[in-house]
């Protein structure tokens, strides 16, 4: 087998194993929450009989191991069960909201990733001089703002002072692509501000690191322009660390944007998860938890694989 293929297969297998372990951890974590769903649903009107009836109906009396394997079996066949609080089909609810999550994350990524890399390259080219300092100062300011502050600021600026966009960013099936873009404009701006600095600084640092190498000196002595040196010779060797930080930020854009979702009333997975945690709606919590874990694992796996492919020593095996 080709060594790269072998490495990739190894990574994928490891990822799947990790996902299985995560599913067990999620299940255990949910089990450890104080109170159970029956109690949370009945709330203050819980009588011992009502509790017993509801637990029986929801299968909460089965041993945990049985419930875990029942659940896992369901997940593998695409059956995530129904929400305990309102009886909605979980797979269906998640499907739509996951689409919205990915749409928002996608829009933010399409803008932030190229922008961060270009700014990183420019900062590296002018390291220590004013363009570098300006870029660093601006991006560090935006990343230092808590998300809700950035969100309120953007709301004030772009819906009140200059009413260009709408503060409530819900998207619905049947909306045109442009209408959706218009709706998510504000949360996308906030997310770009939040993730830009991290990726930009990693790009800058990785390139400056490579710039110390002897072959960069050779390239400079050949008389190549600084931008060509960076773009042609330094950047390809800095790809691995840059990709891994990009993937980390992409994962964040999918799983970590609850605050932004709440402020803009964006109907995606984060808010859905929080609501159901509050109500101890365990099947939903487990399902969303697993999806978030899968996103992290897949993106990290991709970063590894891209890092391997970008490494000439692995690309050209002896």
């Amino acid at each position: 087998m080709h060594p790269i293929l072998k490495l990739v297969v190894q990574r994928v297998a490891l990822g799947l194993l990790l996902l299985l372990a995560v599913s067990a951890v999620i299940f255990l974590g949910v089990e450890a929450l104080p109170g159970d769903t029956a109690q949370a649903i009945l709330g203050q009107s819980a009588t011992p009989e009502a509790l017993a009836n509801l637990r029986e109906k929801m299968g909460l009396n089965e041993p945990p191991l049985t419930r875990y394997f029942n659940w896992l079996g369901g997940v593998l066949t695409g059956d995530l069960g129904t929400s305990l609080t309102n009886g909605a089909d979980i797979a269906q609810s998640i499907g739509q909201r996951l689409g919205n999550t990915l749409f928002l994350a996608g829009c933010a990524a399409v803008i932030s990733v190229p922008l961060a890399i270009i700014l990183g390259l420019i900062a590296a080219r002018y390291a220590g001089r004013w363009p570098d300092k300006l870029i660093s100062a601006v991006t560090l300011t935006t990343i230092s703002l808590p998300e809700f502050v950035a969100a309120y600021f953007v709301i004030y600026l772009l819906t009140q002072l200059f009413p260009i966009f709408q503060p409530v960013a819900m998207v619905f099936p049947g909306m045109s692509f442009w209408a959706k873009l218009n709706a998510v404009a504000l949360p996308v701006i906030v997310l770009v501000l939040v993730v830009l600095a991290h990726m930009m600084r990693m790009t800058r640092a990785a390139i400056l690191n490579v710039m110390q190498s002897a072959y960069i000196e050779t390239a400079e002595l050949k008389g190549l322009s600084p931008m060509t040196v960076i773009w042609r010779h330094a950047f390809p060797n800095a790809i691995a660390p840059v990709v891994s930080v990009v993937m980390l930020n992409l994962a964040y854009l999918v799983v970590g944007v609850v605050v932004v979702e709440v402020v803009f009333s964006y109907n995606a997975l984060g808010q859905y998860l929080v609501d159901h945690v509050t109500k101890r709606d365990l099947p939903v919590v487990q399902a969303v938890g697993l999806i978030f874990a899968a996103v992290y694992i897949v993106l990290n796996m991709l970063a590894d694989i891209i890092g391997i492919l970008a490494n000439p020593r692995l690309r050209h095996p002896k």
Partner: protein
């Protein structure tokens, strides 16, 4: 002058002022009769409902776990959603009278143990079926079923027999209750075809609007019910929407940007700011909702009435009302009833902050001086943390070692409320005194959150239920109030107003003490002028 005149004209058009009074006051403002009569004509025209358009409300209080089953409605959005598609036997009107809906007439026997409801003919459900007496009985039956987990279980439990006969529903009670019609206005008791046994969350009712899109925690879209029986008095917009916007800032921004036409729960802190926006009108109605601190009277140290009295005297109600609610409310008097209730006794003296008396009672209680822990959370009620801190400061000034413990919002209602002996909480109020007392202060009440058990209190409360003589009844309620005020575990510093905001183009708004957004009817009764 013009603004004042316009306001007078609009009040006259709404029927809040007579035409004669308007003319006198307009003249006093120096307006000629031609100007004032043309203004009045414009105002009257603006009061005529306009059909069409889309009316949107942005609301706090919705979650993605919500269901359309009215039995499970527990927060603001599900309540407003039920009111939009559903219809009950009766509603409570803003002036506290009974507004007959599916029931057209109500009568009772002499001791209020047997009630007859005449069902209005020709009222149609959204699926085309006609509302019958059988549907009404089936609906009530579903809520008596322990398994339905209905929020109205406590209300329908007292009904011993339900009979549907022709267009008449007869309810027999175990003991007399003069307020039964008010109980039937409970928002859980939406009349559903076949009682909603088959599919309680189908959203099929006899209300003004049909459910078109139901995305819990996101939005609820409704279309006009073409055969709505009361179309002359409502269902003006072609389509109405409830958009769930739980974040205060986003909800306010959406109103300012015109994305929504009205919103509930305006933060009292920004009322003044919003008033400066000419596109927005603040609406507030004094309600029956109240913010409270509850002590469990069966647990030490709160089982000592002297200590309870010390804590009641150590709270500065006026300061709390001014600082926490910005004055949008009224001070409480340690019993859960205010002037918004019929048969309220206004002669009971107002309890004031009295550090010296509080210190005296505290000394008399023989408390060992260890900290008294008050638990609170941001979600206990809006401003609960500020209120608790103000309370601690005024109590400490009286020498009472009151300390605040902050609890997380998540799990507050299951881990702290009803569990810990002293915590912050709130009540939405009930349409009549009996229901408020029976829900929370009767010894056997499901939600007796102060663990108050007083046989004499129970006796008077149950006797008052069946008493049809108003004077006697008023005296009985006054006695109940005094017992609770002097012995209960309830510290009630303030009643909160419903504070809401709408855009100026929304017409037809009438403040309603019974609930938020005109008791959930704003989308039905208002129109875009």
């Amino acid at each position: 002058m013009n603004d004042q005149l316009k306001q007078l004209a609009s009040m006259t058009a709404k029927g809040l002022m007579s035409r004669r009074e308007f003319n006198t006051r307009a003249a006093a403002l120096g307006a000629g009769s031609v100007l004032s009569s043309s203004l009045l004509a414009t105002a009257v025209r603006a009061q005529e409902p306009k059909k069409g358009g889309v009316l949107r409300a942005g609301m706090q209080g919705g979650e993605s776990t919500n269901s359309l089953d009215p039995a499970l409605a527990a927060s603001e959005v599900p309540f407003a959603v039920s009111m939009t598609w559903g219809e009950m036997l009766v509603d409570v009107a803003p002036d506290n009278s009974i507004d007959y809906r599916i029931a057209e007439e109500i009568s009772s026997n002499a001791d209020a143990t047997e009630w007859k409801f005449k069902i209005r003919q020709g009222v149609e459900f959204h699926d085309g079926k006609t509302v019958t007496a059988e549907d009404v009985v089936a609906t009530l039956k579903r809520h008596t079923d322990e398994k339905s987990q209905s929020g109205a279980l406590g209300i329908v439990q007292g009904i011993s027999e339900m009979i549907a006969e022709g267009d008449m529903v007869t309810l027999k009670l175990a003991s007399g209750n003069a307020d039964l019609p008010y109980l039937m206005a409970d928002y859980h008791l939406v009349i559903q075809p076949g009682g909603g046994f088959e599919n309680p969350a189908a959203g099929i009712g006899a209300g003004a609007y049909k459910v078109a899109i139901n995305e819990p925690g996101v939005r609820h879209v409704f279309e006009r019910h073409p055969n709505y029986w009361d179309a002359a008095n409502g269902a003006h917009a072609d389509q109405v929407e409830i958009i769930v916007i739980n974040d205060n800032t986003a909800r306010t921004a959406a109103l300012q940007a015109g994305q929504i036409h009205m919103m509930n729960r305006v933060d009292p802190k920004i009322v003044e700011l919003l008033k400066s926006n000419s596109d927005i009108t603040i609406e507030h109605a004094p309600g029956r909702g109240h913010y409270v601190f509850i002590m469990h009277v069966d647990k030490p140290p709160f089982d000592n009435n002297d200590l309870r009295m010390a804590l009641k005297l150590a709270i500065n109600r006026q300061e709390m009302l001014d600082k926490v609610l910005g004055g949008l409310g009224s001070v409480g008097n340690d019993f859960p009833i205010n002037a918004a209730y019929p048969l309220f006794d206004a002669s009971i003296p107002q309890r004031e902050y009295d550090a010296a008396a509080a210190a005296e009672f505290y000394k008399k209680s023989g408390h060992d001086g260890s900290p008294i822990i008050l638990r609170t959370a941001a979600g206990a009620f809006p401003g609960a943390i500020d209120a608790a801190n103000l309370y601690a400061a005024s109590a400490n000034a009286a020498g009472i070692p009151l300390q605040i413990k902050l609890e997380p919002d998540d799990g507050y209602w299951s881990n702290v409320w009803n569990v810990e002996p002293f915590c912050a909480s709130y009540w939405g109020g009930r349409p009549v005194q009996d229901q408020m007392y029976s829900t929370a202060y009767l010894s056997t009440a499901d939600w007796n959150d102060t663990k108050f058990r007083n046989p004499h209190f129970d006796e008077v409360l149950i006797a008052a239920r069946g008493e049809l003589d108003e004077t006697k009844r008023k005296a009985m309620y006054s006695e109940l109030a005094n017992i609770l005020r002097d012995e209960g575990g309830l510290i009630l510093p303030m009643f909160n107003d419903w504070v809401e905001a709408r855009r100026v183009e929304v017409a037809g708004w009438t403040p309603d003490p019974n609930g938020e957004l005109m008791n959930g009817k704003a989308l039905i009764k208002c129109w875009i002028a």
